[in-house]
Assembly symmetry: C2
Homo-oligomer: 342 residues x 2
DNA sequence: TTGTAGGCGTTATCAA
DNA sequence: TTGATAACGCCTACAA
């Protein structure tokens, strides 16, 4: 096998030095038209393609974005439509701008394991997928001048760069919708991971309470409950929960638990929305194709991915360096799973 | 901001040269225990982490695998559980072995765009996700000594490295199962992409026919039909198809069209399996959680991902270089969507 | 056991 | 307009 053809081979073949070849492939204006043609000819004939690694080393830039997914999440990925959807948004922008995505999974959650990754891989920036992170991470990365954007992490108080949806508003919308329909026995069920409720759900609960205040209806603690997040456990949780509680309206925090719930209700012969109104948080497209289709507080997950990537590339190129936040208002998409309480 | 700490900084801090530091971080045996300790101490204190790009350049290796997804596929990714599932298998192995995944999307389908990618990115190998590829690609990559594995591409004739399931056998299993249950009006519906039937479906059709031969039942061409693959089109296709045809058994080629079909049958009030028996090809886990749960010809998608990655890494490390093929027999998982024809 | 020196493939800064 | 030459950060003979 012929060894890889380098810039030097091209230089010799076209009777110039590497410098000139380098200028040619980088489209520098200060090179004679004639030699330029000669060099291109040699490039074509030899089948030369610049080596990215060498270029990265010289430039300190890669055109590669590290997409950080905690190991826990990467296991949850199956059947949870969040990941592929957000990835679609991310890759759309990345391809358009000539960047590639390096999948990085992290075992630890501390800032140190991130900064280690930062140094190990010469990536131009990090897109960090949600989940509970060290509070100082954003600050540390900023201090190290490492471009990053959090996706789906919503911590309005901190000076981080992130793209997220307004979860408080989402909780409000869901609660308000059911209350407006006349439901009084309504429940918000939020997932718990290892005993803790994730930040976005805490915000949703806050919004949920606001809906009650807003409607002058007293809120009671029993209106909120925690549940497991995987398909099987959530199914059995729902089963026993509905043995005790008899809500007329139910709000679920993600696609997986909503599917479980839908399955259970079908198995138990409880009809939606006749006997129970159902709302799910989740991607706008997902519950369009269930039976019944679900009224959804929409997350626009693909939009999240696109926007986060665009924000990140602006930081990478230096176009906009300052930390910035984009919080998108969710919308409630009315479909067939909610009706007036009679 | 302090500039990045390099091997030289460590060397100076510990009163040795870069060579020694290099030996220490690469765990070379020929270095004094005492200096080793001294160097490690400096590494810790300075927070040094080796730069991967530089290392790649020197070594010609990266510990990065390029995962090639055609642009068409990356758009199909949403809601199609194949991608996240296979990705889970891939990342599981990659993490275990210390490799990372670089997402590469390709616009072209010709060998040239691949070889270009091969040279551009210094990745150690390519995992190439299914779909219709240039027939010569495998040969060309082999010729260039570029490690690769096709995933889900099954071309038993060619001397390629690939991991796949035995689609012919899958078609056979599905057909045989329905015939054994006494069904005679059965249909195999395969997706068509831009007017062409993908290779794996052609094989399934062959197996489907074999099931008829095997049962001494004459096969008729009308038993096989092509259908669109996206959620909406396939729904409307099914609608008009079932207006004309009245099968008692139906086999669908993937998760998306099966969901459409399930939705349509529910909308039309056709009960499964009482009025129609249904079989889907797809991941073993997916249809466990539909109502009814579907009898599935299982693809073990996660296994595919794991196995392909393991095979690839063996080629990358040189442990096994020769092109090899792994074809897994599918199994039929009996669930609630098929019953005896009465 | 450690140091020296050259190379991996590019880019960038000077001179010429 | 082009050519030397020195980085970029690490690895590895070869020498000491």
């Amino acid at each position: 096998m012929p060894r890889k053809v380098t810039i030097l081979d091209v230089a010799q073949a076209s009777n110039v030095t590497k410098s000139t070849v380098s200028r040619v492939i980088n489209d520098s204006p200060l090179v004679n038209e004639k030699t330029k043609q000669r060099v291109w000819k040699a490039i074509k004939e030899l089948g030369y393609t610049p080596n990215r690694t060498a270029r990265s080393l010289a430039l300190g830039k890669n055109h590669v974005i590290g997409m950080v997914v905690s190991e826990q999440q990467i296991s949850d990925v199956v059947l949870n439509p969040f990941f592929p959807t957000v990835l679609k948004g991310i890759t759309t922008v990345a391809n358009r701008e000539g960047y590639n995505i390096l999948l990085l999974s992290l075992s630890g959650q501390d800032a140190r394991s991130y900064t280690e990754v930062v140094q190990r891989h010469t990536v131009d920036g990090f897109l960090i997928l949600g989940g509970p992170l060290d509070v100082n991470l954003g600050r540390d990365l900023d201090k190290m001048k490492v471009p990053y954007v959090f996706l789906g992490k919503h911590d309005p108080e901190a000076e981080h760069s992130f793209v997220s949806t307004d979860n408080e508003e989402g909780g409000y919308l869901a609660g308000k919708h059911l209350l407006d329909l006349g439901h009084r026995e309504i429940r918000l069920l939020v997932g718990e991971v290892k005993g803790t409720v994730l930040a976005h759900n805490i915000e949703r609960i806050a919004g949920f309470k606001r809906a009650f205040r807003d409607s002058d209806i007293p809120f009671e603690d029993r209106f909120v409950a925690k549940m497991p997040t995987d398909m099987d456990s959530s199914y059995y949780f729902m089963k026993s929960y509905l043995d005790k509680e008899k809500p007329s309206g139910l709000i679920l925090s993600n696609e997986v638990t909503s599917m479980s719930c839908l399955n259970l209700l079908m198995d138990e012969g409880i009809s939606v929305p006749e006997e129970l109104s159902l709302i799910s948080f989740g991607d706008s497209q997902f519950f369009r194709n269930t039976r019944p289709s679900l009224t959804t507080v929409s997350q626009s997950v693909e939009w999240l991915g696109r926007t986060a990537m665009e924000m990140l590339l602006k930081r990478v190129t230096g176009e906009v360096w300052l930390p910035s936040k984009i919080i998108r208002k969710p919308e409630i998409i009315l479909r067939g799973s909610t009706k007036k309480c009679d």
